[in-house]
Every structure is written in C-alpha cells, then in structure tokens.
C-alpha cells in the first residue's frame, strides 16, 4: 500500500500515527490559545462602536475565562508529541533545538510570561486600566504566543534542512527562506482561527443554555447579541480557512518539485479529508452567517470538518518531514525503540485515567451545592 503512513515500516508507521494523533490533540488547545490571544489583542486595540465593545463581548469573555486552562491543556497535551518526536526524529529534532540555541531556550520563559499575562487578562483588575495598558497586555500575550509559534516553525524547517546545519551554526541565521518560514507560520496562525471559532461556538452555545457560569456572558446571551457573536465567529472561521489555504498553497510552492510530486502520489489519500473538511467547515460557517441562530447539526458539521483537516494536515506534515530523513537510520532506531516495552502499561493507565478524568467532569456537573 503506497499510502502514507501505511507505506512505512510497521514500527515507524505506528509511531507516526501515535505522534500525529497526540499532535492533533495538542493543536486543538494550542490553536485556541494562539487565535484567541490574537483576537483579544485585536478586540482591545479596536473596541468598535457597538453597544457592547468587542473586548466585553461574550466571545471575548469566554476566551478570557478559558484561555489559562486552554494553555495549561495545550502544554500538557504537548508533552506527548514532544516525546514521540524524539523517538522518530531524534537527530533532526535535537540538532535544530541546539541550532536555535538561545531562541529555543527563550520559549519556556516567554510561555511563563504569556501564562501569567493570561491570568492578568482574566482578572477583574484589568478592566480598570487604561485602553493603552489593556492593549499592551493583550498584545503582549499574543506576541508571546506568536514568538513560540515562530520558534516551532523555525525548528521544524531547520530539522528538515540538514545540509544547512553547519552554516546555521556558523552564522546564527536560522531562517533560510523568509517566504518559506512566513508562509508556513501564517498557514498555522490563520488555520488556528477556524479551530478556535469551532471551540468557542460550542462554548457560547453551552453558556447560553446553562446560563450559570460567567455572569457577563449570560447577560449578553440574549438573542441579538448571541446571533451577532455567532456571525463574528463565522466570519473569522471562514477568513481563517481561506487564508490558511492561501498560505498553504504558497508554502507548497517553496518545496522541491520532487517533494510536491510525492505529496500528490503518496499523500493522495489525505486529499479527500482536506477537501471534505474544508467543504464541511465552509458550509457550516456560511449557514451560520446567513441564518438567525445555530443548530447542533451545523456545529457537528464544522467540528468534523475541523478535525478532518487537522488530522490530514498532521499526516501530510509528517510525510514531508520523513521524506527528508535517512529512512534506514530512522527505521532501525524506531524498530529498536518499539522493542523496549511498556506500551501495555501506557494503554492500561491511559484508559484508567481517561475514565477518572470523565468522572471528575461528571462530578463537577452533578455534585454542586446549588443543585
């Protein structure tokens, strides 16, 4: 079967699948934080002229409220793909880490700053600050996450460009092609918006129904405001989708012709997932833009489209990366890794812990004193 990743050696195929699935889980939370922080920065800088300023809108309130948790979840979920990337691409990943040097080491302190600023943004205190101060904080938060996004993009591009390593070490110039880096970075940044909008859509609907958790959101969940917020989400979702498609096309043109050919031959199985995912999302967002409310079916359509695209992009991303490594070495290394044992342990405890996490959520839904 010449379809990626099933055309790889069984061990490598297994690790690539596990890596991509855990990466998608990470990406769901990561995109929420990245796009959410950019939206909040924009809403603070450009409050608009409507009755409720953008920074006080239900969408902004929900984002502010949930972004610290989403960042926590993104970091936690990110540990697993960070683990498996070291199994598959040990030399490439480590070398690009080292070549990025201080920039890479800055990722953690920048994330810490961004994390604490998210709590500042969430606090009641910030509403008493001047517009400039609020703007500075929210732009600062978005800047932190954009820097991290830049580092990961640069890391990825360096990892697949082994021929440049000595030159990068000598010059410190980690970016070989601004076009390549910018198009790839923008593809992820703009692609983050549809995912964030999908999650925020579920949240807004949830709050509208429960009408308990965030007082200001509840107040503003009356019909017209809710519809207006849904349309904001639809516009952002559609815009992000279109931009990510545009930047992805741009990025594809920076690749070697041979790699593009492999994309078409080995990666063809993922094309329907991309196309169907895009069509599902576009249809859902258009319906929301034109109608006076939402429906469960539309939300499911958008969500399935989002997940479908994320999984497809995840596998295509790895197809490109694997085409750049020495498969003989990677196959031997991954095969040896598969033999060290412990997988059953992981499966057993993961099932247990998923059950316990579900129990926690059920507990807070049922065992509150108010009910």
């Amino acid at each position: 079967m010449n379809i990626f990743p099933f055309n790889l050696e069984p061990s490598l195929c297994f690790y690539v699948v596990v890596y991509v699935l855990t990466l998608v889980l990470h990406a769901i939370f990561m995109t929420y934080v990245l796009a959410g922080s950019i939206y909040l920065a924009w809403a603070s800088m450009f409050p608009g002229k409507t009755a409720i300023v953008r920074a006080r809108s239900p969408l902004a309130e929900v984002l502010r409220d949930w972004m610290p948790f989403a960042l926590s979840a993104a970091i936690t979920a990110g540990v697993a793909p960070l683990l498996f990337v070291q199994i598959i691409y040990r030399q490439e990943f480590y070398t690009s880490n080292l070549l990025l040097g201080w920039r890479w080491m800055m990722v953690v302190p920048v994330l810490i700053v961004g994390f604490y600023l998210l709590y500042v943004v969430k606090s009641k205190l910030i509403s008493q600050w001047s517009l400039a101060a609020r703007g500075a904080v929210t732009v600062g938060v978005a800047g932190c996450f954009l820097f991290v996004a830049f580092c990961w993009t640069a890391n990825h591009l360096l990892g697949i460009d082994a021929a440049r390593w000595p030159d990068v070490y000598a010059t410190g110039a980690v970016v070989s092609s601004v076009v390549s880096l910018a198009s790839r970075l923008m593809m992820w940044v703009s692609g983050a918006f549809p995912v964030m909008c999908m999650l925020a859509l579920w949240q807004l609907v949830y709050y509208r129904r429960r009408a308990t958790d965030v007082a200001s959101v509840d107040r503003q969940h009356s019909g017209p405001q809710f519809v207006s917020e849904i349309r904001v989400l639809a516009r952002m979702g559609l815009g992000g989708l279109a931009l990510s498609l545009m930047f992805a096309t741009g990025y594809a043109f920076t690749l070697d012709a041979q790699i593009r050919g492999e994309f078409i031959s080995d990666g063809i199985v993922w094309a329907p997932f991309l196309v169907v995912g895009g069509v599902f999302q576009a249809t859902g967002w258009f319906r929301l833009l034109k109608s006076e409310g939402d429906s469960f079916a539309i939300r499911v359509l958008i969500s399935v489209g989002c997940l479908s695209m994320l999984v497809a992009v995840g596998f295509l991303r790895e197809m490109l990366r694997i085409s750049k490594v020495d498969l003989t070495v990677v196959n031997a290394s991954v095969k040896a890794a598969a033999g060290v044992g412990g997988f059953e342990l992981f499966v057993g405890f993961t099932i247990l812990n998923i059950g316990l996490m579900a129990y926690c959520i059920r507990l807070v839904n049922r065992r509150t004193t108010g009910e």
Binding site: L83, Y169, A336, N353
Partner: protein
C-alpha cells in the same frame, strides 16, 4: 565488555552523529541544567505535597476538627495552581529543552528506553490538570465530599507523576540488573527506586507544609489562635521527616560504591553540597519536632519563609549530589557525562573524535595554527559539557600547575588521574592538540604559537592511553573485584 551493546547505541555509534555545542560564556552548561532542574524539582515536589496537605485540610474541615481549614484550602489551592500549574509544568518542559542543550545523547537515551513510562506519566499529568482545574474552578460550589474526591484524585495523579519520573531518574544512577537484562521493569524498579521515592515523598510533604505555614500568615482577617491552629496542623505533614535519616542511609547504600565515595568525602564539592542538604534538613526537622509539635509554637511568616528557603537549599544540595554522583556517567554504563558512549571510545581513539565534526569553531577567534584549532574542537567535543576554558570549572585553571608532559599523561590516563572523569576518546594527535590548546590559553593566547611535532611524543601518548584502556575507572575496578 560489561554487557551487550544496545541496538540504539550501535546505531548512534555507527552514525557518529555529532551535535552542535552551544557556548554559555563563563557558565558551564551543567550549571544551566542544574539551575533549571533544581527550580523545577522544588516546584514539582511542592505541587505533589500540596495535594496531600489539601486533602488533609479538607478532611479536617469536613470532620469539624478545624473550622478554619476550608478557608485555607481555597486560598492554598489558588497559590498551588498559580505556581505549580504554570511554573511547575513549564519548567518541566524547560528541563527537557535544557537537557537537549546540555547533552542530547543523554536525554535521547532516557526517552528511547523509557518513552512508554514517560507517556504513562503524561496520562497521569493529564488527570492531574483536569482534577486540579475542576477543583480550582468549581470548589466554591462543590459539596464537601465531591471536593475531597477531586483533591484525592489530584493528589493521586500528582504523586503518580513523581512515581514514574522517579524510576527514570533513579535509573540514571543505578541501572542495576537492567544493564544485563534490558528489561524495562529491571530498569524502572532499580536499586535506588524505593529509597528515592520515599525520600522524595517526604520532601514533598515538608515543602507543602512549610509553604502552608507561609500562606497561613497571609490569610487576611485571621486571628492569632486561628493561625496557630492551622500552622500546627500543617506541621503534621513534617512528621515523616523522622524517617529521612533511615531513607538517606538506604539510598546511600543503594548507590554504586564509587558514587557513594564521591559523596562521602571523595569529592569535596559533592561532600559540601551533601552536608548543606543534610544540615538544612536537620534544621527544618529539628524546628518541626521541637518547635511545632512538642512546644506547639506559632511560626510567623518570616520564619516560615526562612525555613522554606532552607528547604530550597536542601533540595538544591540533594539534586546537585544526585547529578554529580553519577560521574563519570550521565547514565551509568550507558552515556558518559561528555555525551560519548562507552562503546564509542575505542572507535573514536582510532578514527578521531572530531574527524566528522561538521560545525566550525565560533567562540575562539585568533587560533594560531591547525593544531591549536584541532585542540579547540576536541575541547568542545569532550570537555565543554562540564568545563569552560576560563570560566567556571575552568580547564586552564585546573591544569595550570601541570607541565606539558604531565598534562599529556594525565589526560591520556584521565579515568585514572581522576576516577570521576571519563576516558579520553580521541586519537593521540587529538590529545596532543588539546594539550596545545590548553597551553596556548594559559600563555594568554599569543598570535603565534609553536607546537610539538615530535612523533615520539605521540607514541608516548598512545602508550599511556593503551595502559589506561578504554573503560571507565569504575568498570576497571569492578572487573578487578570480580576477578
């Protein structure tokens, strides 16, 4: 050979992949690692102990044993989230990034051999975050029983994270029978696993207890008797400290004899840090037993903070000892502290350690000739993880009283000169180049510098290297004992 060569290491050996080395100025990379690691360990252990303390206080509140306990639970958990969820989680990622910067082969081997253990730990980390965040967000609306359930799940998950990571960290020092069997169970439940786990658990409880004492003093509108009752309750978590001496001895006995030797006097620096750790622990334990239990004293914020700082010192000392006592390895019998594998040494002595190093020298301008340039590359490959040339742990300083011949012999027989050093892993010409580089630096980096081209010197170096062999002093002495 002490054991069979492992598949992954064979691969790495055959590829002889050389990673770029970053320069940290006067700081040796090991110090950067130590700083991040100590900070993270302190926070992570605080997070684990915090869970136990919160469960205890929630129980006190539910059973009516302390009417202020609930107030404390809600306040303490916010601090725990702000510190451990943010700083703890991120410095954990930071350790991974820093490890890669310092010794990619070491972290690579750890991940390679225990990635499913790490993945299992990750699933507990997810539970910790979910249970913790559920409590953080909804605690004021939860029934007491539901709150306690969430806290118990949070604590279970946090401690389980410690359980899994402890196995991997202990394996670095005492791989035990894993060396022969390659069984993941042998590696995980290695000789220092249990004493290390129990010891760390007690440290967790102590840190949480001390942080609790600090926090009690920060709760507004709480009168002195109320504060004192909370402080005395928090101090109960320090009770297990009485077991620390026994566990400490158990851990020392589980250590390899040579590592134990460094700690108990063989290495002045390690002995010093060990004593700092022991001294700080005795001071905290003594205060807890005499002041907080026997005399039921009140402890104010300043004293509690001071004790917490002492605990930080104890943690730092302990972690330094744990890291340092592995020498000459970063993973015993698996990777040397230089990042070179034991099996590579013989081959590198044949082909040279920098013969396929593609990375140019960046941080040493004005090198006068090819030999000194080669020496600088050898230094970067073999020494730069633990040493600088003129900053901390400086080679130029450590060798300044040696003449050239003495330097040649001491480096050629490095594992015998200093048993906590790995054997030199390069050709005689590379060793001579390293000596030239060190002497050039000691001579204030002149623009022109004459180097020895005497073949007899190289032959003598080769003879010394052959006499010392390619194995670490620890292995040689173990084999001698076996014979």
């Amino acid at each position: 050979m002490i054991r069979n060569v492992h598949a992954s290491r064979l691969i790495e050996m055959h590829m002889s992949h050389i990673y770029p080395v970053n320069d940290y100025g006067p700081l040796m990379p090991g110090l950067v690692m130590a700083a991040v690691a100590i900070f993270h360990v302190f926070l992570a252990q605080f997070a684990v102990g915090g869970g136990f303390l919160l469960c205890y206080f929630q129980w006190l509140s539910m059973t009516g044993r302390n009417q202020y306990a609930k107030l404390f639970v809600h306040g303490y958990f916010k601090v725990l989230v702000m510190i451990s969820f943010v700083m703890g989680a991120l410095t954990g990622v930071g350790i991974w990034f820093t490890s890669i910067q310092i010794s990619a082969p070491t972290i690579g081997e750890m991940v390679f051999n225990f990635h499913w253990i790490w993945a299992t730990e990750w699933s507990f980390f997810c539970l910790e975050i979910v249970a913790g965040y559920c409590f953080y967000r909804y605690h004021d609306r939860l029934t007491d029983k539901a709150a306690l359930t969430l806290l118990v799940l949070y604590t279970f998950a946090a401690w389980a994270s410690l359980f899994w990571i402890n196995g991997i960290l202990a394996w670095q020092l005492t791989p035990g029978s894993w060396v022969e069997s390659r069984s993941i169970a042998d590696g995980f439940f290695n000789p220092s696993f249990w004493p290390s786990l129990f010891f760390r658990t007690i440290v967790c409880l102590t840190l949480a207890s001390l942080a609790g004492c600090v926090l009690v003093n920060m709760i507004p509108n709480l009168d002195r008797p109320a504060q004192q009752s909370l402080v005395n309750r928090a101090a109960h978590l320090m009770a297990p400290m009485v077991a620390m001496p026994i566990l400490g001895v158990w851990f020392l006995m589980a250590m390899p004899p040579d590592s134990r030797g460094w700690v108990l006097g063989g290495s002045p620096a390690m002995m010093l840090f060990f004593m700092i750790s022991v001294g700080a622990s005795v001071a905290i334990g003594g205060y807890a037993v005499i002041g907080l239990w026997m005399q039921r004293l009140y402890i104010n914020g300043a004293t509690a903070t001071l004790l917490l700082l002492l605990a930080f010192g104890a943690t730092a000392g302990g972690e330094f000892v744990r890291e340092g006592s592995r020498k000459p390895y970063s993973i015993r019998h698996v990777v040397y502290s230089s990042g070179i594998l034991p099996e590579e040494v013989a081959e590198l002595r044949r082909i040279g350690c920098v013969s396929n190093d593609p990375f140019p020298l960046m941080h040493e301008p004005g090198l006068p000739n090819e030999t000194v340039t080669l020496g600088a590359k050898v230094f970067r490959r073999q020494c730069a993880v633990c040493h600088t040339m003129e900053g901390s742990n400086a080679v130029a300083h450590l060798t300044e009283s040696w003449d050239a011949d003495q330097m040649r012999m001491n480096i050629a027989k490095l594992q015998q000169t200093k048993p906590f050093m790995p054997p030199f892993a390069g050709t005689p010409a590379e060793l001579e180049a390293l000596v030239s580089y060190i002497l050039w630096v000691q001579d204030d980096r002149p623009s022109e510098y004459a180097v020895s081209e005497d073949q007899a010197v190289l032959q003598q170096i080769a003879k010394w290297m052959d006499e010392a062999g390619t194995q670490a002093a620890t292995v040689t002495s173990m084999e001698r004992e076996k014979r």
